[in-house]
């Protein structure tokens, strides 16, 4: 088990926040994996269609989920996308989205690698 203070997934912080309930962490990862694709799809669509309000709303939702999972870096990029949406900076959205996708791919891999002792 990797319990280091990774900047991608801070598992120590997450375990602290759930009173060391590893079963719950596994459950939260499963929930994230099941709901994330549809959120990412909506975010990508909003960026492609240049809809800043939707970009702001979808990024806000993703930011909340990622913060709850202690995925600090991905949450920071989601926050940046939220700001771009709020400020209607359409030109910068595509680049931020690419960065976000890459970060979440790493995050998903790290989630896979986390194995708890039972």
């Amino acid at each position: 088990m990797n319990v280091g203070t990774s900047s991608v997934l801070n598992i120590t912080d997450l375990l602290n926040r759930v009173d060391n309930d590893r079963e719950l962490v596994s459950e939260l990862f499963l929930i994230f994996k099941s709901v994330f694709p549809s959120h990412l799809q909506r975010l990508s669509d909003a960026v492609a269609k240049e809809l800043p309000k939707q970009v702001e709303a979808e990024s806000h939702t993703l930011k909340g989920m990622l913060l709850n999972l202690s995925a600090v870096r991905a949450a920071a990029i989601a926050a940046e996308l939220e700001n771009l949406g709020r400020e209607k900076k359409i030109a910068d959205m595509s680049e931020a989205l690419t960065e976000f996708q890459s970060e979440v791919e790493t995050l998903l891999l790290q989630m896979e690698s986390v194995e708890f002792q039972t």
Binding site: D21, L28, I31, V35, T61, N68
Partner: protein, 323 residues
Amino acid sequence: MKILIADDDPISRRLLEKTLQRAGYDVVAVQNGLAAAEHLCKQDGPRLALLDWEMPELDGPAVCREVRKKKDLGYVYMILLTSKGLKTDIVTGLGSGADDYLTKPFDSGELKARLRTGQRILHLEGRLVEARENMRFKATHDALTSLFNRGVIMELLGREISRSRRGRVPTAILLCDVDHFKAINDSHGHLIGDEVLQEAARRLLLSVRSYDYVGRYGGEEFLIILNNCDPVSAPRRAEEIRRSLSDTPVQTSIGPLSVTMSMGVHQTENWGVRSVEELLHQVDSAMYAAKAAGRNRISFTKPENSTSDTDHAVPTETEQLLR
């Protein structure tokens, strides 16, 4: 304690749910603001709530506003959950009626501490409501018998007569006076007199329906209003009430005492233009007629076109039942 969680984010919702269940809360989890408002606006709904700021249908602040509009609800302590960190957002959230806010991702220790604060407020509110209800009861009920006091029973009488007059619904007014009450007080003392009045009140209450009214009119006088009581059944109902006291001796601290009462009854759906005071005067006269006729009996007020104040005193229950 029951607590509502409203969050459209399934991760946050599950995290909160598990944390709070572990802390001993009875959790109700919903995923949008509309469902949250519905739960919180129910009379027996949760009184503690964690509301996400951003939600479909209604957002957290809008839920707070909806709940605060319901004046008849007990207090609901609401905490907004937000990843918004700006002071203006916080001011907006608290301005909508939220009691507190918590920034995501929450720390479970902080969350539980803030909820304990909420519980303290709710407990305090519960004590205030209880104190207010006690005061309201004392202001409207007789201290000795716990029946409605004179002011309230008179107000109810006025209201029922108006309702009866409007809807032409029959109503019966009964004025009951405990017989020889002065003798009970003089022979056995006022404490025994009080015991008699308390037991008489209890029996009167037990002998009427939940939507009838019983009040202490004066010292040993009780006023009863029987709603929707037609003239055919009124004599029977009055007789049952009279017998509720006379049939079984009152158990007092010096032993059983036989106690009876005399009763004046007015029954009609045609109230004419008489005032409450005039009607009461007539019922009072009927009650005195029952006393004069030997006590422990019922006397009815005169019909509308009669010349005397009272119709007749009924000497026995059998005769009265035959009417």
